[in-house]
């Protein structure tokens, strides 16, 4: 770095210093409403003294999920954004190829009224939909828990069983294999067809591959993310649909809209 470089660096430093001084002045003017950002203290995997989560290296855990205490996640399982898996008073174990979708909550109970110990066990290739709540229950292999379903203490979902979306399953209910239960409280709705059973394992497989894409993207470090941002900005083009949705400009002129099929 030559003399010129040093001079530039010094000038840059002055500008930044002035900027910070201005920032402090602005904060002073805002009085007690000023906000100073701290580094995020969120921890994806958190241990409680000796109870530490164990996650397989091929599993995907979203950075905004939080796994606390005794939580075991098997290979190629995926824990999506905003999930909370809390194994504090008991253990939570998740098999392989299972997906726990966004904003779900998995918790355990120390014991229920009958004194039964209730860890949460989730088997292999299970699909748990968005925002589901699983509390001290057992979900066997290739079961399906729909969006927004709530499974209370001691519930057992057998292999190939399905809990419909928005269902609330009362404590100590056993959902037999190949049946669909739904409603509040959950009742037997119908038997599953063979293709629907096939769909459950298919959906788990789809999610496992989708998780790989998300895992790769989330594991990128800061420099790579910034580089890609620059590359993306370079190749950015005007989106004709954007104006259309705003209701301005109507249809994009045909010479701009190159990738759309020609109107006959």
């Amino acid at each position: 770095m030559g003399t010129l470089g040093r001079a530039f660096y010094a000038v840059g430093f002055w500008i930044r210093e002035t900027g910070q001084a201005l920032d402090r002045l602005g904060s002073r003017l805002q009085g007690s409403y000023v906000f100073q950002e701290q580094l995020s203290r969120h921890r994806t995997l958190m241990n409680l003294f000796d109870k530490a989560p164990v996650v397989d290296k091929n599993a995907f855990v979203a950075p905004s999920a939080s796994l606390t205490g005794e939580v075991y996640v098997g290979p190629s399982s995926s824990i999506w954004y905003g999930c909370v898996l809390r194994g504090d008073v008991n253990s939570v174990s998740i098999g392989s190829g299972t997906n726990i979708q966004d904003n779900s909550l998995v918790h355990v109970a120390k014991s229920n009224l009958a004194g039964k110990v209730l860890p949460t066990l989730i088997g292999d290739n299970v699909t748990v939909g968005h925002s589901a709540v699983l509390h001290g229950c057992t979900v066997e292999d290739e079961a399906f828990v729909g969006m927004g379903a709530t499974l209370l203490d001691g519930v057992v979902v057998e292999k190939h069983a399905m809990v419909a979306a928005g269902a609330l399953v009362r404590p100590d209910t056993r959902i037999p294999s190949g049946e669909v239960w739904g409603g509040n409280p959950a009742k037997f709705l119908r038997k599953l067809k063979d293709d629907e059973i096939a769909f459950i394992s298919q959906s788990a497989a789809n999610y496992a591959s989708l998780a790989q894409v998300h895992a790769a993207e989330n594991a990128k470090d800061f420099d790579k993310v910034e580089l890609e941002k620059v590359l993306r900005k370079k190749s950015a083009t005007q989106d004709g649909e954007y104006d259309l949705n705003l209701g301005v400009g109507g249809e994009a002129p045909p010479e701009l809209n190159t990738n759309a099929p020609k109107a006959s």
Binding site: Q20, D23, Q36, E37, Q38, L39, S40, H42, R43, T44, F49, D50, V54, V55, D56, K57, A62, P63, S64, Y72, V73, G74, P75, W80, Y81, G82, S91, S93, G95, S96, Q101, D102, N103, L121, D124, G129, H130, S131, E140, D141, M147, G148, K159, A165, G182, N184, N206, L210, V213, H214, E217, N218, A219, D221, V225, R232, D239, Y242, N245, L246
Partner: protein, 254 residues
């Protein structure tokens, strides 16, 4: 006494603790007896966990060629996750804890619409109706907190109540209201100007003209509210100050 027990457990090798779930499963299989499941796979921990742990969540996650787009005057809360093909149009607002995941199909949040706290919006690969499986939320739509939307279409000027669930291929036509906690089964169409509620959703009554006029007003009110949130965020976060302070205290040159 309990502390000693815990300490002794801690001293045990990790391999023993990793085989715990396997044992728990085999016990479970013995209970159900008729279909004994194979023993659970042994979990091997990643050696470079630090690389993805302790780093926090990015708001915008591009997947492949698809990057989420946010209009300049839309408000998206800092702990929202937008992944894949997501477009948030002007004046729209997405509130804290929501997850919009357009990894399989497109998601768009139209002008002046709002998606409230801890909603999940997702798009499936295909829809049972045979129509495109994209999730389309049009203009002046209010989606209440904790709602779950999957590959559904919501036409302009609707209200989706809190905690409601819309499954694949459902269609909410213009000027209609879904009450809180309703569950719309796959492929169900909610006709224009009606109020639906329940699990599964059922027709309650037709809306009056005055009520339909109130729907866009609610969306505009929430849009106004989001205007007051926007200026609270500086164009760049002040987190670098903290990092520089830490680096200085550790004697690392900046």
């Amino acid at each position: 006494m309990a502390t000693i027990a815990r300490l002794s457990r801690r001293l045990l090798p990790r391999t023993l603790s990793t085989s715990l779930p396997g044992r728990a499963f085999s016990a479970e299989a013995a209970q159900s007896a008729e279909n004994p499941s194979p023993p659970a796979p042994i979990i091997r921990e990643s050696p470079d966990r630090v690389k993805w742990d302790y780093r926090g969540q990015r708001k915008i996650i591009p997947l492949g060629q698809w990057a989420p787009k946010i209009a300049v005057d839309a408000y998206v809360a800092p702990n929202v996750v937008l992944a894949g093909q997501v477009v948030v149009y002007d004046g729209a607002s997405v509130w804290n804890g929501a997850v919009l995941r357009g990894d399989l199909n497109k998601i768009s949040i139209g002008f002046c619409s709002n998606v409230q706290e801890r909603c999940v919006v997702h798009a499936a690969w295909s829809s049972p109706t045979g129509l495109p499986a994209e999730t389309l939320i049009e203009r002046f739509v209010t989606v209440g907190a904790y709602s779950l939307l999957r590959s559904c279409t919501i036409e302009p000027e609707c209200i989706i109540g809190q905690h409601s669930i819309l499954m694949e291929g459902s269609l909410v036509e213009t000027h209609s209201i879904l009450e809180a906690g309703s569950v719309v089964p796959p492929g169900r169409r909610i006709p224009s100007g009606e109020l639906w509620a329940g699990n599964p959703a059922k027709f309650v009554r037709a809306l009056t003209h005055e009520e339909t006029l109130e729907i866009p007003k609610l969306a505009v009110a929430i849009n106004d509210l989001s205007r007051s949130y926007c200026p609270e965020f500086l164009p760049y976060s002040t987190i670098y100050l903290e990092v520089e302070k830490l680096k200085k205290s550790f004697g690392i040159s900046i």
